[in-house]
Amino acid sequence: MEPNQAAEHLQTIRTLMERSAIYRRALAPIMTYCGVVGIAGGIAGNLLPIDSGRGFVLFWAAVAAVALGGSFLLVRRQALKESEPFWSPPTRRVTEALIPPLFVGAILGAYAIHSSGDPSMCTLLVLIWCVLFGLAIHAAGFFMPRGLKWFGWLFIIIGCLWLPICSAAGVPSPDNFFWGLNGFMGAIFGGLHLAYGIYLYFTEKRGPTL
């Protein structure tokens, strides 16, 4: 064996080892938690007196922070329970895959807060959030069990269909504009996560994690 061949072999081994380190934390509790937070957000959003685009974006940014923070704690608890490092290479790769679309979503939200907070802008923002979240999940799906990519696709498709369907159906109507948007956010982000979480509780493999 030539030395450069040996070096190539080592590089291939390294690549394969990295690729095989699939993220295997139990997703059922995380998905269920995010689902409950999302649905609670949808209900709370309609109970609170939100009547501006700025209020809507700030409220959902807070819901996202609660969901993200809780998920972080759940992952950390799993890692501690398994006596494994929290910031493992698969966790790092999943995080890296999630960040770009979520970052864009956050920037767009910040822009909406900073700008006039025009309510009509919120319909478009919800559509973009939905697609970006789907893209983030789909990207993370490359390092996670296969079903997650489909979950990401669901958000992408719903996001793409949302605007034409709403335009055709005339919803959310101007009379209860934010009621409709909060309901959509709760149903899509909360409902889908909860449904997937329940599905995973019955199907997820129990075993060693990474």
Partner: protein, 102 residues
Amino acid sequence: MNPEPFLQLDRVIHEKGRLAIMSMLAATPGLSFTELREALGMTDGNLTTHIRTLQEGGFVAVNKSLANKRPLTTCTLTAAGRKAFTSYIDVLEQIVRQHKPK
């Protein structure tokens, strides 16, 4: 050139397909047959043959179980397999080091 490191390369692991399987298993607690097949782009027959060879060499353990009422074949690296894999890597590194310009 010192030929010693070349002679130490394990013949069973040295084959491209088997080395790929060993590399993937070395980084995880275990992988299913399907995960290995999809990641390595091997056919069922090819993968089965390589896994059998590794199993016979004592490098890989195969566990058959049922998951969601469907058969699940899981492959894991044995202690001997992990040791052989580490030694193989050491030899490769030795070869690279030996020829590194000083």
